[in-house]
Amino acid sequence: MERSAPVWGLAVIALALLILLPLGWLAYMSVSGERGVTLANYIRVFADPRLQTALWNTVLLAFWSGVVAVVIGAPMAWLSVRTDLPGRSTIKSLVMASFVTPPFLGAFAWVMLAGPNAGYLNKLYRSLTGAEGPLFNIFTMSGLVFVVAIYTFPYVYIMIANTLELIASDVEEAAALLGASRVWVALTVTLPLVFPAILSGFILAALQALALFGSPAILGLPAGFHTITTQLWAFFQYPPKVEMAAAFSVPLLLATALLLLVQKRLLGRRGYAAVGGKSLQRRSIALGAWRYPALLGCLVVLACAVFLPYGILTKAAFSQAWAQPMSRENFTLAHWSFTFLHGGTQAAIVNTLELGLLTASVGAGLAALLAYVTSRKLVAGHQVLGFLALAPIVIPGVVLAVALFITYTRPPLLLYGTLWILFVAYLTKELPVGYAQSDATFRGIHVELEEAGRILGAGRLRVLGEITAPLARSGIIAAWCFVFIGVIRELSASIILFTPSTKVISVVLFDLKEEGQFGAIAVLGLFMLAMTFGIVVLMQTVLGRDVLGARSSGSATG
């Protein structure tokens, strides 16, 4: 037994507590009745036609969001990696901007842009054409799909762009030399090579849509339809029906796990995707006359995802009435003073920052420890440990919240009502991101560097502190930033676990929507975006690397 054993032991226990305990309670609660084990909860849930509709809506939302994300993301990835499209790097940055934009913020913005009556674009349309009805109504399933897809297409984009970058031009040229036309090459060589990436991008995008709470709540509920996530949330409105929520969580959990399994299989087989050797030479395909139409297409997508939403949020942040034209009379700073000086929002900002700092610090530390233990195979069953650390990926935020609610509203751990339950939720949810980042970091540090220290007389913990830690530092800082960004924008777990004294920014945003306070929403949203972009820029300058590129498959957010 080594002296360092207790440290590893502690990590193992922490992990079991974080993941197995809540999931165990969730499973138990879903089959518990007044008289022992029962399937009554499941039967009640699945026999209810309203809940069946919610299930079906979720399927529709996930499927169509995935499809639209592929339709948008795949051509954009191809254009920006493979062709001479003007402004490729700018487009890439803007796609990343859309990637880090909280989807619920986009949904708020689109309410202001395309609400049927007051929506900015609809008013513009009516004033231009004199028509009576709206051009778009965002409060529909297709509106919801649209708003979800413009924030999930980056998943497809990243998957496909990464794959395309691994395909050397000579693979295509070999086909061209054999006499194939350009279109035929694209269809018979390039497309089959990227197909696994397309499918796996589709799955990732669908998974995001599946787990999302904010957008369906903002756009679906006013239109009178539920998805699984909003329905789970509704179960917690008074009087809470926890058993039914537990039973209703299970299909979402299983669907997520299944989809991720399929996606992993697809990526595992990507070996044949011509991961070329040293000569990864790529020659851009000349678009010719299509250059500017293609650019226009990309800009339209980015306008929907970034320019228009950010524009309307900025306008709303400084207007007394966001729907009115910008003028001197309409200008105000009241939303800013309200947001930062008003007790309620101020407290939420403080809570969010506290939780962000705490979760990021503990999370990055725990993730680093776990990644170290698993990458160095320090304990028997380290594979199980790695699996557990990544397991929360399959738990949508709402489901996690249901499980944590069940676990921590009873002795011995009465955390409900405190910030600690949010901390536990965030920690669990962000652990996979932190772990994946740390794992890659430690795998990049050759074991011999540590062994050299050991054989010269340094104990394992000393080597960890003096050799491994300094070398892993930038990777661990990156993990910290990912967790922090993930926490400050978290909504779907917070919305179930908050209490009046433990509100966070995202929850306040949701409350403000009920009050129709779009000015304050805009200010808080911009504040959240500023923090996010600030950290991304900081990471990229301090750590000197393309941080977001490394995060091709992330956790569920929103």
Binding site: E448, E451, A452, R454, L456, G457, A458, G459
Partner: protein
């Protein structure tokens, strides 16, 4: 100086035994090379000695200390050893001096002494004035020297080297072989040296242990291994050789078709099959085919030159021996004495025909 005693060492990875019942004794101050192809267990053996791995069976002793046994493994940091790694394993965040000084901190060396010893050691490896550089700023050969300095400065009881030269280019590798041997002669540390390069093993070490499938199949000086290989594996792994599969006719005679050979043995069982190793450079090639009596200890074969290759520092002939389908490779001096198609005689001393043990052919 302490000796290393390895007894019946066994290490398994799952169902696969990487090391199976390995015995080795390294005398104090001796340099022994562990030589073998990849997967033979040589690196695993070294890592067992270093304490990075725990054995399933067997013991490792240094002097009168038992360092490893299935019951207890003393951790690497308490073994008073040093190791030079294949990747050099220099810490990129520390200067050259920081790297070299690291081990001294755990040996109760005062700061002033530390600086002095680091300086001296950098002098020994010809890196004076490089102390404040970072490893990333050095060439491969210089990094190698830093790794050597870092290992030697702590005056270890045992020095372990894991293919330390395999990342260097050919010229530098040759130079470093002599350098390592020179340092060994200077410091006289008991050393285990892992390599898959037979020439490297032969230049550097006092004795070479050839490993196959987790066991030592033969250990001896370079000359012993080369001239008296015990098994087919050793004969083929260490240097080039001609392999003749024959049947014993008498205690010191074998036959293969029409070919008869006297061999360097006296205890062959007539009727058993036996493989004979004949080194190409121990065959003398003479023009002509007139039968000549060369004495009882020499085999004289007659044949025809099939191919002749000019290698610069020597000739490589292929000669088909009359009355058999056997083609022998023969090394000769330049300029060439015979040409393709010519009739030649091959003189092979009986002692140069080495019968090999049939046992343990190939990995089990």
């Amino acid at each position: 100086m302490l000796d290393v005693n390895i007894r019946d060492l066994t290490k398994r990875y799952g169902d696969v035994a990487a090391v199976r019942g390995l015995d080795l004794h390294v005398k104090g101050g001796e340099l022994v090379a562990l030589l073998g192809p990849s997967g033979c267990g040589k690196t695993t053996t070294l890592r067992l000695v270093a304490g990075f791995l725990a054995p399933e069976a067997g013991e490792i002793w240094v002097g009168d200390r038992c360092l490893s046994s299935p019951a207890a493994v003393i951790p690497p940091e308490h073994r008073r050893m040093a190791m030079i790694f294949q990747s050099y394993a220099l810490w990129p965040h520390m200067t050259v001096a920081g790297n070299v000084a690291y081990g001294l901190r755990f040996r109760g060396v005062s700061r002033a002494d530390r600086d002095r010893r680091v300086k001296e050691m950098l002098q020994v490896v010809q890196l004076e004035g490089y102390g404040s550089r970072y490893p990333g700023e050095l060439s491969g050969g210089q990094q190698q020297r830093v790794a050597v300095a870092r290992a030697l400065v702590v005056e270890p009881e045992i020095l372990l080297l894991d293919e330390p030269l395999s990342n260097l280019d050919a010229n530098l590798r040759e130079e470093m072989r002599f350098e390592i041997r020179r340092l060994h002669d200077t410091f006289g540390i008991t050393t285990l040296y892992v390599t898959h390069d037979q020439a490297e093993a032969m230049v550097i070490s006092d004795r070479v242990a050839v490993l196959q499938a987790g066991r030592i199949v033969q250990i001896g000086t370079a000359q012993e291994l080369f001239e008296q290989p015990r098994t087919r594996f050793v004969a083929e792994f260490v240097g080039k050789t001609n392999m003749v599969d024959a049947v014993a006719e008498g205690p010191n005679r074998v036959a293969r078709g029409g070919l008869r050979l006297q061999v360097g043995a006296t205890d062959l069982e007539p009727g058993t099959s036996v493989a004979i190793s004949i080194r190409p450079h121990l065959i003398e090639i003479v023009r002509g085919s007139a039968a000549r009596d060369a004495g009882t200890d020499v085999n004289v074969l007659v044949g025809t030159v099939q191919r002749s290759s000019y290698l610069g520092d020597g000739m490589d002939y292929q000669v088909e021996v009359d009355g058999s389908e056997i083609v022998l490779r023969v090394a000769g001096p330049t300029p060439p004495r015979v040409s393709v198609g010519e009739r030649v005689m091959l003189w092979i001393a009986a002692a140069s025909c080495v019968p090999l043990a049939a046992a343990r052919e190939g990995p089990q």
